[in-house]
Symmetry: none
Subunit: 230 residues, 2 copies
């Protein structure tokens, strides 16, 4: 899936993220790959993004996120080491060499219903929900039960479980959990325009809402969805 250079760069980025938590700048990547110009890095980054290995915020410095690891044994072998690096060694949760089902499932907290007029922190969780790891990317996730039909045209129905990645940044067009004026958490499309933040429902019966940047806090972005039919 990756060429040599792409692979090399991806590993460098991942290493830096593991060590310092900060993505390297183009300049640093240039040095690491022994190039004389940032342009080469730029193209490699673009290729990695195109192939779905990283994600980035355009025009933002050091705004890289690794989405997947290259599919190779050396990584699999080093994963325990990485775990020890990136996180506290006190988490022994990684010792499941062949515990097949367990490796594929992540237990995430269920924080209650969204669009209930209550900040979701208030509902910090009682229960948890097991979720296939494949539905999630990296990072911390939680689940919310969707209330209402304001996102129905995006295929998100009342009663669905939204799997949300905890983050305070999101890109235009992504579906986010937004806390409005510290009071109300809703699930909406995020769009920014003219210094304002617009929250777009996916239901022609509802109006987009426009707020000042200080009125809206992104609490996470939609990473997956679970639904039950009875």
């Amino acid at each position: 899936m990756l060429t040599r250079k792409q692979h090399e760069l991806l590993r460098f980025i991942q290493t830096r993220l593991d060590e310092s938590g900060i993505s390297p700048s183009f300049e640093e990547m240039k040095e690491a790959l022994d190039l004389k110009s940032k342009s080469g890095v730029h193209r490699l980054i673009s290729a990695l993004e195109e192939r779905g290995f990283i994600r980035r915020l355009p025009n933002r410095a050091r705004a890289l996120e690794v989405l997947r690891q290259p599919d190779d044994a050396s990584l699999r072998a080093t994963r325990p080491a990485m775990a020890a690096n990136s996180n506290d060694q006190s988490a022994p949760a990684t010792s499941h060499p062949a515990a097949q089902p367990a490796n594929d499932v992540i237990e995430i907290p269920l924080h209650g219903r969204i669009a209930a007029g209550v900040p979701i922190e208030a509902l910090e969780g009682q229960s948890t929900l097991p979720v296939p790891a494949a539905l999630l990317g990296t990072g911390e996730h939680y689940a919310l039960e969707v209330s209402g039909d304001s996102m129905i045209e995006a295929g998100i129905l009342d009663g669905d479980f939204a799997l949300v990645k905890r983050t305070s940044s999101a890109r235009d067009g992504e579906i986010v959990v937004a806390l409005v004026r510290g009071e109300e958490a809703t699930l909406k499309y995020l769009r920014r325009e003219a210094g304002m933040v617009r929250l777009d429902p996916a239901n022609a019966a509802y109006e987009p809402q426009i707020y000042g940047p200080d009125e809206v806090e992104v609490q996470g972005k939609l990473a997956g969805l679970l639904r039950r039919y009875h």
Copy 2:
């Protein structure tokens, strides 16, 4: 399923990916198979792709990904099931505190895409998908990747994973996997009227289809849904 050469090539690719994480180029595969030309490799690659064993980005160098192993128990044991999930994500959240194994999880077989014009039995699957037991009821279940937008108004989008309970009976108004004339499996609302069976899409752009009772075989009914956002 695979010819000797295809099998040999697939194993070579997998080996290289395991060792280096970088897919081999046509030139390298040519050498490995002891051929004198890349064209042979080209045809083998095409065959492997057509049969769903590998995935590739067209016109991209070294952009191969192995989706399935040949039906070979020794190999299969070493590959997590989700590797076969068309998209990325074979490397889930490498390590974070919230990632804990769970018990109430059921591993169900993933039978391929539905609405692909192929009876799903034909795709009897290598891969499996871990699913929270809470999403399913009793009985035997399997998963299908949804193809197309014919159920979009029911909140079922292209690329979603439908969790299906295997059953040959369903009630009016339920969403079922229906095999039409032994050929085509589709996901539709089931309705019976005047001795006929009607399969209703949930998309105004599509027409309901009406069949004789002998033409339609219910293979299961929708029990749950998984979706990933990228």
